[in-house]
Symmetry: D2
Subunit: 338 residues, 4 copies
């Protein structure tokens, strides 16, 4: 399972070349597959979270202090586009004798897993490659295709490969990269482009070297954007330029590719999309596909302000996705413990 860093970077290099050229990929080999975890793997970089990794991560908790890194889910939260969220609890039955139970159950409908604090699974996005006949076709992590994911049942019951139920529990070392703190602001400007220099500068300011990042770590970037959560119009609900919406800050492709090279498990941020939204003009493609096809997950709509305030840069990070068969995203209650 171990591959040297140089080999991996070489692989990435090939990948980056091939995704712009007609790439001659086959089912067995393409710019980003087979994965280092084998040709059948569906768990991506959660594989880096070995028992040893878990044990060393658990030791990062020194005081037992809990940080809730997610927002509470409700119907009023900012939604990306027009994704509905409805929770209905039926009032309880009447009671007519001592000790009788009064019962509530809840009915939920919505794009759970793609709303609020959300985890993007490997089935969420694939990336187009040119085919020998000149057409384009999307490939997902480990070379899985759309036909593999939604072929026979067309998505009824979820995808048939790369569902979030495949992901190992993410109990790992978390790192905060406080970009807002590095830039000396509470909240980055809308559409501030976070560069690799910003990331490396913030790490250095925090006393962390680039080399200290280990495979399987979760890297969370604080833009201070969670301050806008209660103002959906400003936060970014997918309706750009409507109301107070002026977009949101995010990382650029260089940062995303660097994350892949560091073999992190998760790149998280306190915005809808981790990347700048709307994408910069001239941006050739969605930054998500720098990450997901390469086995790196995203966590979106975090709230990292308390971690930043406490200068809590390294911590035990718990990110337990629900095992919903065939889902391409998951709700999560992300927790940091120091």
């Amino acid at each position: 399972m171990k591959i040297g860093r140089s080999k991996w970077l070489a692989a990435i290099g090939v990948a980056l070349l091939s995704v712009t050229a007609a790439s001659g990929q086959t089912a067995e080999k393409g710019p980003w597959w087979p994965s280092p975890f084998g040709a059948q793997d569906q768990a991506g970089n959660s594989n880096y979270i070995t028992p040893e990794k878990i044990l060393t991560s658990l030791k990062l908790a020194k005081t037992g202090k809990i940080y809730e890194l997610g927002h509470i889910y409700d119907a009023k939260m900012p939604a990306f586009g027009d994704r509905p969220y409805v929770l209905l609890t039926q009032p309880a039955n009447e009671v007519t004798k001592a000790d009788q139970e009064a019962v509530h159950t809840d009915y939920f409908t919505g794009f759970l897993g793609h709303m609020g604090t959300q985890f993007d699974g490997l089935g969420h996005m694939g990336r187009a490659l040119k085919m020998p006949d000149g057409s384009y076709k999307a490939f997902f992590y480990n070379g899985y295709t759309e036909a593999d994911l939604t072929g026979p049942k067309k998505g009824a019951g979820g995808v048939e490969k790369l569902g979030v139920e495949q992901i190992k529990p993410i109990i790992t070392r978390g790192l905060l990269v406080d970009i807002a703190g590095y830039k000396g602001v509470a909240t980055l400007d809308a559409r501030y482009e976070v560069t690799l220099a910003d990331v490396l500068g913030a790490l250095k300011k925090e006393g962390l070297s680039e080399d200290s990042i280990q495979p399987g770590d979760a890297v969370l970037l604080n833009f201070g954007w969670a301050a806008n959560w209660d103002n959906p119009s400003k936060y970014n609900d997918g309706h750009f330029w409507v109301g107070e919406n002026k977009g949101s800050p995010g990382i650029n492709h260089e940062v995303a590719k660097w994350m892949v090279s560091k073999k992190v498990s998760i790149v998280g941020a306190d915005t809808c999309c981790v990347m700048m939204m709307p994408q910069p003009e001239g941006d050739a493609y969605n930054l998500h596909v720098d990450l997901l096809p390469y086995g790196v997950f995203l966590m979106e709509n975090l709230d990292l302000r308390e971690l930043a305030k406490d200068k809590a840069y390294e911590f035990l990070y718990l990110n337990l996705t629900e095992r919903l068969r065939g889902a391409t995203g998951s709700p999560v209650r992300p927790i940091a413990i120091r």
Copy 2:
């Protein structure tokens, strides 16, 4: 926040008396309220999980081995009654240029939080008390009433008190009580009544004393029933006596009250309902209301077979409920680590 055990038991004693008598409860004081955590508390026994408790619990992980204690959610799993579960993933967009993203999102509808591996929150069930005028009224944990929970909005958006978003992260010491192992069977008989003698006997066989149970611990009972999960007709889908359904084993009231006296955070089992189903003839009331009003949560439909096989009786237990505002239950990915 600390109260002595004898005081607590006395309180319980009063409670048990008063729930059968006309009890003269008021908003301020009733058989099970105010809670030891204050009259406004909504977090129940998750309050026992202090930073110190978390730190000592994390140290229970010695090897980093992960045990998945839940089932994967899908539409075919046994459902209690007729609770639908639908997950639809739309097939991805076509791609027409290099590097373009192909995107999936999932639409979910169902009684999530009350299906499959599920956590019962404090809003799930209240318990009826006789009122001065001879009528009955349901009270929930800490004396909250149905009017507090579903009054103004009648449950639209969930309950307004005791929603699962109030519960602290349950990162605690887990204990397996292997009843099936104690009885020398792989799977208990349908409708086997698990007694306190069984629980104490199993603990003793495992080398654990009754006194070793600490406030905030999660106590998980293995009945071996998860072996029937793939056979919904037998497992118990709420359709008693239909097909192979002959009910399911469970604990009796004595065990439930003992759990309350031990101040555990969670009582879990590998059946739909933790209690025997259908309840024994003559059983006066639903066993859930021995637990939830007293601040003790339930975990249902676990799979504890691998823990039992490994004789893993004490472990770090992670139980992170989703913070769905107003929900009365939650899906969970319960994890044990040794």
Copy 3:
């Protein structure tokens, strides 16, 4: 089943007095019950649509020309408040042999029956009366109470009385009252108050006398507001004063009461709410409760422009609500035929 008009008006008079006084209503008798159709009736003024009424109405069709009076339902239509509407069709299975079927089915979630062109059933709204103890309690058509409607099951599966499945097929004489035409405009101003003088004036201009209105007729008012349908911001999606929203025109209480006195089956209009929205300052109560408790249905979000253009003032009107057990509203495809 027949009662004289004067008797009915007298009954109304009593009703109007009693609803503002403490009214001494009982289960058997109140300001608007028992209904003229018996104390158990749940069909309201659809009862006026007798076989004779149907036969005479069918004869109003002279040319067979169809007018579609509803809007097409889709997710982009103006919604009142935040009512979601989601329709997902799974792409069809692959086919692998001659003549094999490729199948689509559709999954719908939403407030169907309360979105787009919609019919308000008698369970949709009740009206508060003062009780002997000084409290208030809502009564619905024929004196049914909230306990009758959502008592035992708390609305799971719909209401248990006054569901739309009780309503007889509305195949009746339709009348267009072209208020916009009478006022000489294409579209009434936002928040134009339509008075009884307007209604009588428009009828007169159309060559119809007040007395020509017969029990069971459906009276549809054209405000020209359907012209704004494709602009949800202006149309009135419940978000008053947001974007272009300046409210919408509607009838006042005097008109509603007159409609009751005329024993019409349906009052319809081309706005969200038939009444002015938001209600005029100082308006004591929601105009819907001038109609529904008295057995008169509402049709909302119609499109009456083509009828108005053709000066089609009298026609066969088809309004077949779906027989959804326990629903309080219904989608409808309203049709006029001349």
Copy 4:
């Protein structure tokens, strides 16, 4: 729009040949397209319902007697397979002053349009044809393809062609073909195969000639099967051979093709599927594709017993599908009037 019967039958003949041969179809011309209503038509045989047809049909009502031909929709009705149906009405708000409104709205989720009394639209099923390269591809009414229906949006928001919103109001002549009456039974046997001889024999017994069937007529077949509606296990809920389920009676291909030759608008029956279920062994393909691609709609799960009892063989038939954009089926309240 008129084409001679012989020409149409010739076209059908070609079609039947070509669907078994590699058929050389093109976008412009195939075995069943272009339709007689033009190459762009999406309304199928509802086009036969012209203003003249409507006028003559309305005249069939002689007494104004209404027949409800559908079942009431609720969660307990027989469902085909595992299609959920959930209707939740939130209990009304409290009222605190005179005349205040108490409001209910309903939330619905389910396969509405494919449950209970249901109308199959032209987008519901396509039929496979062999392509020049030896592969198979589904074609729908008028040669529309799966790419036309669910191409760009993959079915989100429904199909983009052949949605039920395209269908003209079906206000037509209805004919009852009482097969059960002809066979002298109240209810046909499960899996009774209804032949063309049965249909012609029943028509003759009713005093109707084959030639009296006119384009646009709705032909409804009474099997007496509605008597089993309250017993979902027997009725046929798609779980064949489970419980009392022994399948259900239905027409064979010969009858379906004859219906196409008669240019009827709708073929309806009182079973789940109109055709025998499960299909006879050796049946090469689903009978639906004898009808839908040819522009003929299906109505399923009718209740025709009262019509049969009254020997009401000819009547005004109202079948107003909801205009749900992109839906492939629709709930309907089908009505006969004599």
